[in-house]
């Protein structure tokens, strides 16, 4: 497992407004607010049909919530955290109809959670519009103990559950919203290369 030139990095197509959609359901975290402002700023006519969910997350302290409020979307939910945002999103998805388009913007782990919520409600993943903004930090699943380590910016990283030093592979699972972490010293016990800052 010395290989790292793997090609299954997710591709985020950008937060293009689908003008055909009858309802826009937009979930944004942190710097993702800027992607929303860019995309919907170009389509102000869509705002009257837009439900916006926002958690300040990684960009707390900046005033993105106020800028989003100034957009006057049909609904704006400013949530205190990613998990509470996802909870609210699930409530909305439960009664949403087919003309609804789902959007996600923010860090990768957040996008992964929104996509997973959409898929759990029958939304085809290809129809979800996504844009990566903010930190490149990754959620990493340890392939050995299955534990998730959040906000990983380095490789190798120590699994926060079982303690195995993990090589972070560029292999991404949409279902888990996580990259794969695999033991880096299995063939050289104890010989762990220094952590490199790769995903800050």
């Amino acid at each position: 497992m010395l290989v790292s030139n793997i090609k299954s990095r997710p591709v985020y197509g950008g937060l293009k407004v689908d003008v055909a959609a009858r309802r826009h359901l937009v979930a944004a975290e942190g710097e993702g607010a800027l992607a929303v402002i860019d995309a919907f700023g170009a389509h102000p006519e869509a705002l009257a049909r837009t439900t916006l969910l926002y958690a300040a997350g990684g960009s707390a302290g900046e005033d993105h919530a106020a800028r989003l409020a100034a957009f006057r979307p049909d609904d704006l939910f400013v949530m205190p955290s990613q998990p509470t945002l996802i909870t609210r999103l699930n409530v909305i998805l439960n009664t949403a109809t087919m003309g609804t388009r789902l959007y996600a913007a923010g860090v990768e782990g957040f996008i992964g959670s929104v996509v997973a919520a959409g898929m759990a409600h029958g939304v085809d993943q290809a129809s979800i519009r996504t844009e990566h903004r903010g930190s490149l930090a990754r959620r990493v699943q340890c392939v050995h103990c299955k534990g998730m380590t959040e906000n990983v910016t380095v490789s190798p990283v120590t699994c926060s559950h079982c303690g195995i030093p993990l090589l972070v592979r560029d292999h991404y699972s949409r279902r888990l919203g996580a990259f794969q972490g695999v033991s880096i010293d299995a063939e050289t016990p104890g010989d762990v290369p220094p952590a490199e800052e790769l995903y800050a």
Partner: protein, 346 residues
């Protein structure tokens, strides 16, 4: 033809070995003295008598021990067998395919009696006699895919086809070469092949996808893939890599012939009738270098293939640490004589 099932292990004391007959029928994957990726797909037609492709599903002398090893893997890690809910119809398709093929070609070991949807399955080697209702999951002790694949050699992935894409949505994967079902389940064809080097650049994956999307019912196809394994270990999963990876450092010039195994996957693909899903079967065969060189042509050829293998492929297949030692060992069995075309022993 009654198979004499061996009692052997694929872990701890590693008592696995091939009988002389098993060596002769080993699916040697190189028909030339060099190896490069290709969409080497062919119709899954019956091969020569006693070969691994004589029947669509191959049961051999390792059957009982392999099934015991699978049960051990599942006991430790139930996530090796998973199915997304929309795959249930495909699971039943797989039950029918495997039970029909096994009972048809190995009647002394397996039998299937059907009366409408009331089925009776008898598996003599494993001592199973099961009455059940086809299509009714509650009449089997396990979900349908798990039930039947606990009784059939090889890993199985069930692949759904939606919107001109293939999706890895179910599987029984306990003998894999370094990929995780738990991680890959739900992925598209493009996503789960992400880790394969070179293939993307060559357009191999796109051509293979197009081919697979049009795979026809009644026309299964197959291909061979290969890697090398230290010790006859079936469970070379990433989940347990931290346990078995160290094996790669234990090869010495003295034990290379015994420890290093060529591992060949006979991969077959069938279109399933009820679900329109595809079953991807991955049947692994292993042979240690000492056994392999008893066929002179194979010793010569594997030496040349390994010696000339591109470094990135050697790396991807995990051979880097022991490749030179294996090449040195095989060099002693390569007199430089020309090899005949094709896979089979001379």
């Amino acid at each position: 033809m009654t198979i004499q099932f061996k009692n052997e292990t694929f872990r701890d004391d590693f008592t696995f070995s091939n009988s002389p007959e098993a060596i002769q029928r080993f699916p040697f994957p190189f028909d030339k003295d060099e190896y490069m990726y290709a969409v080497n797909i062919e119709q899954h037609m019956p091969g020569p008598a006693k070969s691994t492709t004589e029947f669509p599903i191959d049961i051999d002398e390792h059957y009982v021990s392999e099934m015991r090893d699978r049960a051990l893997v599942l006991k430790e890690d139930p996530l090796r067998c998973q199915a997304l809910p929309h795959m249930l119809t495909a699971e039943w398709d797989l039950v029918e395919l495997l039970m029909e093929q096994m009972s048809k070609h190995y009647p002394e070991h397996f039998s299937l009696t059907r009366d409408g949807d009331k089925w009776r399955w008898v598996n003599r080697p494993l001592g199973i006699d099961q009455h059940f209702t086809f299509g009714d999951t509650a009449t089997l002790p396990y979900p349908p895919m798990e039930y039947v694949t606990r009784q059939c050699q090889g890993d199985f992935a069930l692949i759904d086809q939606r919107n001109d894409m293939l999706w890895m949505d179910a599987g029984m994967i306990t003998t894999q070469a370094d990929w995780s079902l738990d991680f890959d389940i739900g992925m598209s064809w493009t996503e789960w092949h992400g880790p394969v080097p070179l293939a993307h650049e060559m357009g191999v994956m796109d051509r293979a996808l197009k081919f697979m999307l049009n795979l026809q019912q009644g026309r299964p196809v197959r291909r061979l893939n290969w890697t090398m394994t230290i010790n006859p270990r079936l469970d070379t999963s990433p989940e347990n890599y931290h346990k078995w990876g160290i094996d790669r450092t234990t090869v010495t010039p003295e034990n290379v012939g015994d420890k290093v195994h060529l591992r060949v996957e006979l991969q077959a693909l069938w279109r399933l009738p009820r679900s329109n899903a595809i079953v991807f079967s991955i049947r692994a065969y292993m042979i240690k270098m000492e056994e392999l060189v008893t066929v002179p042509k194979w010793g010569r050829r594997l030496h040349r293939v390994l010696r000339d293998l591109r470094p990135e492929l050697a790396d991807y297949k995990g051979l880097t640490r022991f490749r030179d030692m294996t090449v040195d060992y095989l060099a002693r069995h390569d007199d430089g004589a020309p090899t005949s075309p094709g896979f089979f022993p001379d």
